[in-house]
């Protein structure tokens, strides 16, 4: 297409002089502390873990903890932790040499984390003599667990939002979902160690559902703060 070739060969136009608004800003230009994503991630993870440990102490550890298989308990803890760190890392740390968030991967990680933890809860939910099995009543009346999980998710989401405020020109909704899913997964970890209800419906739909609900809420609310407009 010679017309398109001709257009692509055009020299770029001469840009205008800087606007008075920009000149005024440059007149008193001060150094700024630039973003250090890895350090911010480490801080976010550390503060969130301390906060969630504090909440767990406040809520108390589940009574049937010592009756549950240690392998399942630890591996599920690791899965919740992975679901916490991975989406948040993807949402806050860009790939090397880039400033842009890995919003697509953060979005995928949120969806995968939500599906995996709901599925894991439905499939694997060992119980002990002091565990509770409530069936659908545990799902319908699961708002206490949901509230506790979302309360835990609040801190990582707020910290992540502060770190990313007014810096995302694109993908802010997916980044927010990543922050929400990560926070929700931390909420799930707290519930895993606190809630003695051990039937699959409650563990899967309520504890796992915290990830999905936190991700959706974050995707709806956070972009207002992180979008660069």
């Amino acid at each position: 297409m010679s017309a398109l070739d001709e257009l692509s060969r055009l020299p770029p136009p001469a840009p205008p002089e800087l606007s008075p608004a920009l000149e005024a800003e440059l007149a008193h230009l001060a150094p700024v502390a630039i973003r250090r994503p890895v350090r911010q991630l480490a801080l976010l993870v550390a503060v969130s873990l301390i906060y969630s440990a504090g909440l767990l102490v406040m809520f108390t550890v589940r009574g049937d903890l010592h009756e549950l298989p240690m392998g399942w308990l630890m591996s599920t803890c690791a899965a919740w932790l992975l679901g916490f760190v991975l989406p948040i890392a993807l949402a806050t740390v860009p790939r090397a040499g880039s400033m842009m968030p890995r919003w697509r991967l953060a979005g995928i990680a949120s969806v995968v984390a939500a599906i995996a933890m709901v599925g894991l809860g439905l499939a694997l939910h060992p119980s002990g003599p002091h565990s509770y099995a409530l069936g659908w009543a545990g799902v319908v009346g699961g708002y206490g667990c949901l509230a506790n999980g979302l309360e835990t998710a609040l801190v990582p989401v707020v910290i992540g939002t502060i770190f990313l405020r007014r810096s995302l020109p694109v993908g802010s909704r997916w980044v927010a979902a990543g922050l929400g899913a990560g926070g929700g997964s931390l909420g799930g970890l707290v519930l895993h160690l606190h809630c003695p209800v051990a039937d699959g419906l409650h563990v899967g739909l309520v504890h796992g559902g915290v990830i999905a609900i936190a991700a959706l809420l974050a995707a709806a609310l956070v972009p207002r703060a992180t979008e660069l407009r």
Binding site: M1, A3, L7, P12, P15, I34, M99, W103
Partner: protein, 198 residues
């Protein structure tokens, strides 16, 4: 783009001269992109200034060693979309008053301003710009970024906030549509002149 990284770093450290150098380095190509998207030089100039003002206000988001150019393009892209939406809303409000005020040329409307930019073969360039203007905004953007600005599909996807696959599809469809539009436009003139079939 090592130079842009270095300039951005110095600018964040408080060097106003580095900002001017960064502007001189990035603004011409970015303005070319905005002119092709907006098709109105005055609007493109305004969008460019808005973009750099946003860059300035968000400079603390810079990550050491990162290439700032895709980020700046992305801000320009976002600013263009917001302006398009704002203008669309403004047109609706204009329709409510009895006496219509004078409305400047729209984003996809003709403007004499752009003719200042035309060099090379003006007819071919005008034909390409006209055909480009007929494309949907997403396809136009894909064609401008990948075919005219020479950006990789991955980079263009990053700028537009979409996936590589979607960008490939948009660029391909846009290019095919352009081919049809330009193919239709090119033989039309000689056919008319010869009095033959269109």
């Amino acid at each position: 783009m090592a130079e842009a990284r270095e300039l951005m770093q110095r600018y964040c450290d408080g060097d106003a001269g580095a900002f001017r150098e960064l502007y001189a380095l990035v603004a011409p190509k970015l303005l070319g992109y905005l002119v092709k998207m907006a098709r109105e030089r005055a609007l493109a100039d305004d969008l460019l200034q808005q973009t750099f003002l946003k860059v300035h206000r968000a400079r603390a988001a810079y990550v050491r060693g990162a290439d700032p150019v895709p980020w700046i393009y992305s801000i320009a892209h976002r600013t263009f979309i917001d302006e398009t939406r704002r203008r669309r809303r403004a047109v609706v409000r204009v329709g409510e008053v009895e006496e219509l005020p004078e409305v400047p040329a729209g984003l996809t409307g003709e403007s004499d301003d752009r003719r200042d930019e035309l060099r090379g073969d003006p007819e071919l360039v005008t034909a390409a710009l006209d055909a480009l203007a007929e494309l949907p905004a997403q396809q136009r953007e894909a064609v401008v970024l990948t075919k005219l600005d020479g950006r990789s599909v991955a980079e263009a996807a990053e700028i537009a906030g979409t996936t590589v696959g979607a960008m490939k599809v948009r660029a391909h469809r846009g290019y095919e549509a352009l081919r049809k539009l330009l193919g239709r436009a090119a033989p039309a003139a000689p056919a008319k002149a010869a009095g033959g079939e269109p």
